[in-house]
């Protein structure tokens, strides 16, 4: 596909009102008719995606049929809880705070993570903060190999490339956070006979930026078809508070603030959106480069990166496999 002379970065512009109405109708159909549940639980992180989902659910189902759930833990930014509460207050929905730190301590999540970090940073211990980061893969042709940034209580941060066992150990331990959150979300779903709303946007869903059976688990995913920039357009239309619109995207998983670009995308999400759109619509790299304000080599590397991450994400999205198709009565 080529876009022609009229092509511009407006290609991701949507009719926010029409899209809101379409999603709202879908949520009603999914929750009430197909899932036969009485409302929705939204894990509200104070980020743009979960906030938009909370607004959409409140509009679709009624504020009295939505639970906003806050699940802070030891490494969470205090802003997440504050902003989540602000959203719940604005919407007038039920809300609950569930500190998941004791669950994570019980599962030895922090202990296991720190042991994995010490494989490459032996001095890592009490009072340290950390995050894992990727190199910039758009400027240079290289693999997506993570490094850890460890900041001692005093002194300067140290960045070390992760080995296989340290990387796997850190990821396995920190993934407990998303799975613990999901467990609590389903507690409230069971309690109120609600469905659990998933909050991934299209970039996250396509590229595997979620934890299998953690934040990847949900009963319906109302914004998974929207590019991140489209989520922002919807947010503006829905009246999401400015502070959330302006808040940089963060994973809120590590004790040092970690942008989603550092963790996964390597590109600002607006450009990543355009690259994903270009890849999905077979737009030649040279043409997409002109639209996105990138050079052609950067777009080619982004296309390769998308394909590579997509391959890894197939496992994350895969449903359980069966020996044979199992026919259930309905």
């Amino acid at each position: 596909m080529t876009l022609g002379a009229a092509a511009s970065s407006d290609i991701l512009k949507l009719d926010a009102q029409a899209e809101t109405e379409r999603i709202v109708a879908n949520i009603r159909e999914h929750v009430f008719t197909r899932l036969k549940r009485k409302g929705a639980v939204v894990g509200a992180s104070g980020g743009i995606d979960s906030t938009v989902v909370a607004y959409l659910c409140a509009r679709a189902l009624g504020k009295e049929r939505v639970v906003a759930l806050f699940t802070p833990e030891a490494d969470s930014s205090p802003d997440s809880l504050r902003l989540g509460r602000m959203v719940a207050g604005d919407l007038g929905v039920k809300s609950f705070v569930e500190d998941i730190s004791p669950i994570l301590k019980g599962a030895r999540c922090y202990e296991r993570r720190d042991a994995a970090i010490r494989k490459v940073v032996p001095e890592y211990g009490e009072g340290y903060k950390c995050k894992i980061v990727l190199p910039n893969m758009v400027e240079v042709d290289r693999y997506a190999i993570f490094s850890i940034v460890a900041l001692p209580p005093t002194g300067s941060a140290k960045k070390v490339r992760l080995t296989l066992d340290s990387y796997l150990g850190i990821v396995a331990a920190t993934n407990c956070k998303q799975r613990a959150r999901k467990m609590i979300e389903y507690y409230y779903a069971d309690l109120y006979q609600y469905a659990v709303a998933g909050t991934p946007n299209r970039l996250e869903y396509d590229q595997g930026f979620f934890v299998k059976n953690g934040d990847g688990a949900a009963d319906f995913k109302p914004i998974a078809h929207l590019y991140k920039t489209q989520v922002y357009q919807l947010a503006a239309h829905l009246g999401v508070p400015d502070e959330i619109l302006r808040r940089p995207s963060t994973t809120d998983t590590y004790s040092l603030e970690q942008s989603q670009e550092e963790f996964y995308f390597s590109l600002p999400f607006a450009k990543m959106d355009l690259c994903l759109y270009g890849k999905n619509h077979n737009i030649p790299s040279g043409e997409l480069a002109a639209i996105a304000g990138m050079d052609e080599a950067q777009v080619q590397r982004a296309y390769a990166m998308i394909e590579s991450k997509r391959a890894v994400a197939r496992y994350l999205r895969a449903a359980p496999l069966f020996v044979e198709e199992i026919q259930i009565g309905d």
Binding site: V140, Y143, A144, Y167
Partner: protein, 99 residues
């Protein structure tokens, strides 16, 4: 046509054992691991650990590129340059071995 070098054979055996789970399938020694879906970025970490442990080298951050690590022959050539920088990479002489 000469046979693949012993190092290329070792690398190929490692790839088959660890990423194809011993189920040898037809792939060219010049075939891209990424394009063939054989090795992803986590797999590259495993490959790096193998190279460092087996050949006593240190793979530097800037060397973590597909040019160095994305096929049996490119890994063999990279190893040759690392272990004997004065010798020209020999991988170009390695035939396209098939399983």
């Amino acid at each position: 046509m000469s046979a693949a070098s012993p190092i290329a054979q070792q690398i190929r055996a490692f790839i088959i054992e660890n990423f194809l789970y011993g189920q040898e399938r037809e792939f060219n020694n010049d075939a891209s691991f990424l394009d063939e879906g054989i090795v992803d970025s986590t797999g590259v970490l495993q490959l790096v650990a193998f190279l460092e442990e087996t050949y006593g080298i240190t793979v530097e951050d800037e060397e973590l590129t597909p040019q160095n690590l994305d096929s049996v022959n490119s890994v063999a050539a990279y190893l040759s340059r690392k272990t004997n920088p004065s010798v020209e990479a020999f991988s170009r002489d390695i035939p396209e071995a098939r399983a």
